[in-house]
Structures are given as C-alpha cells and as structure tokens.
C-alpha cells in the first residue's frame, strides 16, 4: 500500500468524532454516503453552501487523500461512521501525533492508515502543507515510512504486524475470528 498525494491541513487539536460526523447523520442503516457529510458543521454554512475558505473544501477538489490533523484525532464517541465518513470522502491516511484508541481501530478496519508521528514532525508537515498546498506526501506501508521530499524528511511510523498484514494482504480480521470458532468453543468449555 503506497499513497502519494497532496495533504489537507487541519491544525486543530482534539478533533472529536462528533465534529468528524455529527450525530444527526448516524441514522442510516448502511455504510454509504457518509463522505459528503464529513466535518459537516465546519465545512458548510447554515444555508448548506460550502465554506470556500475551509482547506478541506479547497483541497478535496484537487484529489488530496491525506489529512494532517492536530493531536488526539478522533476522540470521543466510538461511532465507526466517523471512519466511514473519512474513507467515503476519499481520505486514505490521517497523520497526527496521537489518535484516540477506538477511532484508530475503526480506521484500520476501513483501510485508512492512522499514522502517528512525533509532535515536532507533525508541526513540520503541518507548516509546509499550510504554506504550500502543492506539497506532496508519500506513504509506504510496507516500509512503514512517511516522506516529504520538499522537507527532505523521512519518518518511521509504527503499526502492529497483524494489522499491517491485514492491510497489505487483504486479510479479513472478521473471517479470521470466524475461522477460530472451534478454538473459541474449546476455550468456553475450559472455563465453564
């Protein structure tokens, strides 16, 4: 999995999942169409027209697939709708200095890479993409590396080997668990 793309700066800390997808959009019974309502209250005016100056609106039109956000991205509610909205919008990776645990898991489960870098590196990346929106960022999952050639920067990121395997080789974690049903049943008998 490799991503080469422009990146959208969102220099706000503690972005909670209520901002990523407000509760009024959680009423569907499927996983489709959440992307159009991503950051709804920040992206749109009260009359429903897009806020032209909001970076997300500008760069989305240029096909940016990476979001760069302030510390503690995805805190709050466990709603996986937040990950469906991010993925549905065309975002394939989010870079931050820390992610909330539940969002991080939801991101992986929807093929979105949550990439944790140090606060210093986040600051550098945020600064360069804010000044020059044409800056390309490259992400290589196999190498666990994010690089910004404009900064001559290469940074390593961590991912559990299991999650990496799932993403690289399309392993379905749910099917993995279903295949374990016999072992799970043995466990149940053991502790009964």
């Amino acid at each position: 999995m490799k991503i080469n793309s422009l990146a959208i700066p969102l220099p706000i800390q503690n972005i909670d999942t209520d901002q990523i997808i407000p509760a009024k959009f959680l009423k569907q019974v499927d996983k489709l169409g959440y992307g159009k309502n991503l950051f709804y209250n920040w992206r749109f005016n009260k009359d429903g027209t897009p806020k032209e100056n909001f970076e997300l609106n500008k760069l989305h039109r240029k096909g940016a697939q990476i979001l760069v956000a302030g510390n503690n991205f995805g805190c709050g509610s466990s709603r996986e709708h937040a990950a469906w909205a991010v993925a549905g919008f065309g975002i394939r990776a989010v870079i931050s200095s820390q992610f909330a645990d539940i969002f991080k898991g939801n991101a992986y489960n929807n093929g979105i890479l949550p990439i944790e870098v140090s606060p210093e590196i986040l600051e550098e990346i945020m600064s360069v993409i804010s000044k020059n929106p044409e800056t390309e960022i490259a992400i290589d999952l196999a190498e666990q590396e994010v690089s910004v050639s404009a900064l001559n920067l290469k940074a390593h990121f961590d991912i559990s080997p299991f999650k990496k395997e799932c993403l690289l080789h399309g392993v379905d974690e749910t099917q993995y668990l279903i295949n374990l049903r016999n072992e799970i049943e043995s466990y149940e008998k053991k502790v009964a």
Partner: protein, 456 residues
C-alpha cells in the same frame, strides 16, 4: 502474583495469543443498541453466518427514542427505521431485545448493571464509548466500533492490543456538595482529554471505596473522556451487595471474584495520586471535557481552554463561570441518569421553583429508574418545581432524537460531552453534577450547589 485486576481479567479471557501484546480475547457480555449495530448485522447476512452466542447478547433502543409519548410511533422516519431494524435483526438472530415500551428498556449502560447482567470479572463490550461505565463492577468493559460489533456477533471474541495500566488514587474525604461527577471532571481536567490514551485505568483509594455503585458508575463512565480504553473499580462488599440484590450468585462465585482484585504490590505502568480535599464542585467552560474549573473560578483559568472553544462558547475569559445566565438544564444520560442522581436533584429542589426563563428536562436512564422515581414520588417534586419529567433514553446528551438545545442556548448538563454541537447545532454545553444542575435550574445561572445546601 503481583497482578492488577485488569491483568487478572484479561489473562482469564485470552483464547489465543497472536503475538506479543496482541491477543484474541473472549467477550462475556455484548450489549447492542440501534445506532451502531445495523451494519454489523448486515455484514453477518452477507457472510451467511449466524450469531455465535446470541444468549450472550442483549439489545435495547436508547439513542433515537423520543422522551415524550413513547407509546406513539416515532415521527422521524430515519429514527423509526433504525429502531425497526434493531427489532428485525434481534428477531432474526435470536437476540433478546428490550425495545421501546418494554419494562426493562433504557440506556444500555444503565439497564445492564440494574438487571444484574453486569457482573464482576466479566469482559463487556458495546458499540458505544461509554461502555466503560460497567467497569464500576470490576469488569473489563470498553466501547468498540461496528466492525468489532460484527466480530463479536460472529465469534464472541475480538483481536485486541493489550493496553497499559494506570492507577488513579483519590485519598481522603470529599467536602460536602462534592459528588462523583465532580471527582471525575477534576481528574479529567488534570490529565487532559488524551491523558489516559492507551491505558486501562483502575480507580483506587478511600473516595472510590466509599462510593456507592451508582457513584462508581458515574466515574467509570467518563474514563473515555480522558482517552482511557476503560476504567474500573476493585470488587468489594458494595459491589457484591449490589449484584446479589439483583440476581442469585453462589458463594464460590463471590470468592472467585474477590481473588481478581489487584494485589497490594500490583505494578501499574503509571500511577497518579490526588487528594480529595483539593476537589470542589466542577463545571466545564469549553468544548472538551477537560475544561473543568471550580465554580468560583474565572473562565480563563482552564488550562485546556482554546481560543476556538472560547469563541464557540461566547464567553469572556475574565468573567466568572458562576455569573453565566443559562437557558436549559438537562438531567439524565448514562453518566447521571440513575436513581441516586434523581434523588439528589429532588432533595435539592424540593419546595423550590425553577427560574422562569429556564427549561429543565429530567430524563430517567431507564423504565425501571423512572418507575422507582415515581414510586418515591420524586416526579411530583420535579413537576412542582416546574421541571419536565420525561420517558427514558439518551435524549439531549447527543440530541439524536427531538431533545435538542437550540443554537446559541446555554445548557447545564449532567451528561458527558460538551463538544461543539453535541446537544444540537450551535448548542453550548456546561457539564456538571446533578447537584450543580439542580441548583442552576433554580437560580437560572451557573450556581455552586454548596451555596444552596444546609450546613452539615
């Protein structure tokens, strides 16, 4: 072994270890609600698999349900569809449902404990971040995403990274008027919204030992607001009395529960100690739960208050929080919608009338809590004070139903999140204890409850 309660429960539930720190963990109890489950059931249907252990699942409708005239059909077509989907899925997959109108219906984190389903030593999950509430019983309880809901339905197990452990001690005796809600708002204000990310927290010390189960649940409920994977309290007589008054438990079982507790020399990855006497009634002033301040403090005294939050809240940082005129009071939610919360409110407002300009909603956490409140005639006190006493649900905590705070209005709320727009677009939320909410309802402005309490 010098193990923590967390370690003991985790180790007992490992079905298989995948690699260092990554395990397949068995789940004893799965709670389900209408918002985060339809896509999971859909996934099962697409795979053509059954629910592996339907008897270990329990569903209720809480997030979308109206709190007025629940016996009528839900007017909002989308909410109605979601609740109907839950009914259909539960029927198809053989899962017990306490749906609208059922005597056991209520907020998922209120009914589980109250029905005796939540028991010490269990692993408990729900597609809801406030599942940490159940940790009050010495359980390993945490919120999960919908993909994981599907996984638990399909296998009663999850692939989990073992989190680190943190012990938070609060020693000493709380001052009068300081409640469990104030304690947790204080802790969050000290640690920050990401201060416990990656950790499972155990709350220890005199303060939590002396708390009732309802109070412990309020504390554990908000563990997620500092990023913790979950929060828990050790198992003691208070825990056992609560559970055994609701369901029959053998002595052997009780013995086995007590053995799970953290040993005296248990090692935690992080340990934090607070003194109870430093804690006063707390309210938040920003748009994150870590912006808690004392009621006699200036708004600008919160170290976590951002310019963005200050602008959203339309506050002047040099003003006192207790001067702020309010429009709404919401008493309820999985944080503070239990019977003890309603009793505390009733005691404070009995014989007093709400400020004329304030709307006050009291929303019990479950049908049982509502019935109990009516039996104790708390409803009469509320109504006499000018409060609305409603039917159970999540209500204005996240405003998925009609219970929305209008844009720009200021609400003192006993819920758990003050995020932008949480209680409705443009709504401004101040998180507070039931006592503070009750006092504020009477005066019409943010009010320190100790100013309205009889001297002890």
């Amino acid at each position: 072994m010098s193990q923590t309660l967390f370690d003991n429960i985790w180790d007992q539930h490992v079905v298989k270890s995948i690699s260092e720190g990554l395990d397949v963990v068995y789940i004893d109890q799965h709670f389900i609600h209408e918002v985060t489950s339809p896509q999971a059931f859909d996934g099962l249907k697409k795979r053509g698999v059954s629910v592996f252990r339907p008897e270990k699942c329990l569903a209720t409708a809480d997030h979308n349900v109206p709190t007025i005239n629940q016996k009528d059909p839900i007017k909002d077509p989308e909410s109605a569809t979601q609740v109907a989907s839950l009914e259909k899925n539960c029927k198809e997959f053989g899962i017990e449902l306490y749906g609208m109108g059922h005597e056991n219906q209520g907020i998922v984190h209120i009914i589980g404990p109250d029905l005796g389903i939540t028991q010490p030593g269990m692993t408990i999950v729900c597609g809801d971040s406030h599942t940490s509430t159940h940790g009050a019983f010495g359980t390993l309880a945490f919120g999960i995403g919908t993909t994981q809901v599907e996984q638990v339905l399909a296998s009663q197990s999850l692939v989990l990274n073992r989190p680190k452990t943190m012990k938070i001690e609060v020693n000493g005796t709380l001052k009068p008027g300081v409640t469990a809600k104030d304690v947790i708002l204080y802790i969050i204000s000290k640690l920050g919204t990401e201060g416990a990310t990656g950790y499972f927290v155990e709350y220890a010390g005199e303060v939590f030992r002396n708390f009732s189960m309802d109070e412990r649940m309020t504390v554990c409920n908000m563990s997620i607001e500092m990023g913790a994977r979950g929060g828990m309290v050790g198992i003691d007589q208070t825990t056992i009395d609560y559970v055994t008054s609701r369901t029959e438990i053998s002595n052997e079982k009780i013995e086995s529960w007590l053995k799970l507790n953290s040993s005296e020399d248990a090692r935690f990855d992080k340990q934090i100690i607070f003194d109870a006497k430093d804690i006063s009634p707390m309210v938040t002033c920003g748009t994150a739960p870590d912006t808690g301040i004392n009621l006699n403090a200036k708004i600008g005294s919160s170290k976590h208050l951002s310019e963005k939050a200050l602008a959203y809240m339309q506050f002047d940082s040099t003003e006192l929080i207790s001067d702020q005129k309010i429009d709404y009071v919401f008493i309820g939610s999985c944080t503070n919608g239990r019977i003890e919360d309603l009793r505390a409110v009733a005691k404070m407002v009995e014989g007093k009338t709400k400020a004329e300009h304030v709307n006050v909603w009291v929303v019990p956490g479950s049908m049982k809590v509502r019935a109990q409140a009516i039996e104790e005639e708390l409803d009469k006190i509320f109504i006499k004070s000018g409060f609305e006493f409603r039917e159970p649900g999540c209500s204005a905590c996240l405003a998925m139903n009609d219970d929305k705070i209008p844009s720009g209005s200021l609400c003192v709320s006993t819920s758990n999140r003050n995020f932008e727009g949480r209680q409705g677009p443009g709504a401004r939320t101040i998180l507070a204890s039931p006592l503070t909410a009750a006092a504020s309802a009477i005066t019409g402005k943010v009010t320190d409850p100790t100013t309205m309490m009889e001297p002890a």
